[in-house]
Subunit: 188 residues, 2 copies
DNA sequence: TATAAGATGCGTATCCTATGCAGCTTAAAT
DNA sequence: ATTTAAGCTGCATAGGATACGCATCTTATA
């Protein structure tokens, strides 16, 4: 595992650090799916349809949709003529709740995990409270919005989403260029 | 790269998703370093000293410290007898600013990146504003605290930090057990 | 019974993050 | 001057997380 012939060249990355505090695409896609379905209240939307509209991976979307079904946001109907519907009206789907579900809780740092925490100063560290409050503030702000709010201009959304995607389907090449040239990797 | 004999067994991970919106250890260490130095206002702290106190990697700390120096939080003195000092009094070092610097800005999702954004509905999507406000709320809450606040009980901190670490130095085995058994990977 | 949809389980390609390490530079002691 | 104790710098790498791809099964409708 350590030995072996050295790889040819390898593209050469910059280590250092990069931004965190960022939503996963899982969350991103979750919200997009919900907005799509909300914008199409009549018929049922399908995974393929949504993937094409946003030009994103159908495979990954499948899992997102399944998750949203399990969580009670979507009603997923199998079989021919099946598809997706909102389980509740958009006014009763809260953006903060969705994000919390898809992001999996509010644990901003190691000190918040009961089990694995091994920071030496936990007991006397006030930072914990500050961080906890900040995360709470984040979700509180998100909780002020419902799916209805964010997908409000349904007409415009529907128009955009029904238009055929620019080129072919999903182009996985242009994604996350990690356009970080902001803070740390700056070398004079 | 695609072919080749299948690897023996491989520990078998669960894919799906896991929590994001979490601080990097880079940020974690940055805050710990500042708290340490704040708790030792007389002499100068050294990297080795701090790494030992928290039982964390000296190598990584080196880069953290260097970064904090570049950003103007620390004054790093080289050479024998050198070490670290706060560049400003702790009352003038803001936790929110530090986190923003170490986390590298407030870009919670793809739609916020001018360049690489390719979400189909950006123009008509209100979600962007909600997310932006939430991130702002996060930092606003953090900005309410200074290093002086979080490192307030200096006496207790100093006591804990000066105590020798439990066992030997830095044990890199127990870290980030990713104790996620909360949301998605639940399979009945 | 064909067909269209979602469900599932497994494999994998990249990243990202956190480190390791070797050598260099700077500055205070001796 | 020379030693020595710091931090600086530029590689390299490991390990885990994320986001997919793919094949197959299940369900339900026509």
């Amino acid at each position: 595992m350590t030995g072996g012939p050295a790889e040819p060249v390898r593209p050469l990355r910059l280590p250092e650090t990069a931004p965190a505090m960022r939503l996963t695409t899982f969350t991103d896609y979750s919200l997009r799916v919900l907005m799509y379905v909300a914008a199409h209240p009549e018929g049922r939307a399908t995974i393929g349809e949504i993937a094409a509209a946003y030009a994103i991976s159908e495979n990954h979307l499948t899992k997102v949709v399944h998750f949203l079904g399990k969580e009670g946001y979507l009603t997923n109907l199998r079989g021919r003529g099946g598809g997706l519907q909102l389980s509740r009206p958009a006014t009763q789907i809260n953006v903060g709740e969705v994000v919390k579900a898809t992001e999996g809780g509010d644990v901003p740092a190691e000190c918040f995990e009961r089990e694995s925490n091994c920071c030496a100063i936990t007991a006397d560290c006030k930072l914990k409270f500050a961080l906890g409050a900040a995360v709470r503030a984040f979700y509180d702000e998100l909780r002020r919005h419902t799916l209805e709010d964010v997908a409000r201009n349904r007409r415009a959304l529907t128009r955009v989403l029904l238009a055929p995607p620019a080129a072919g389907g999903y182009d996985r090449s242009r994604r996350r260029k990690s356009a970080s040239a902001s803070a740390k990797p700056a070398r004079p």
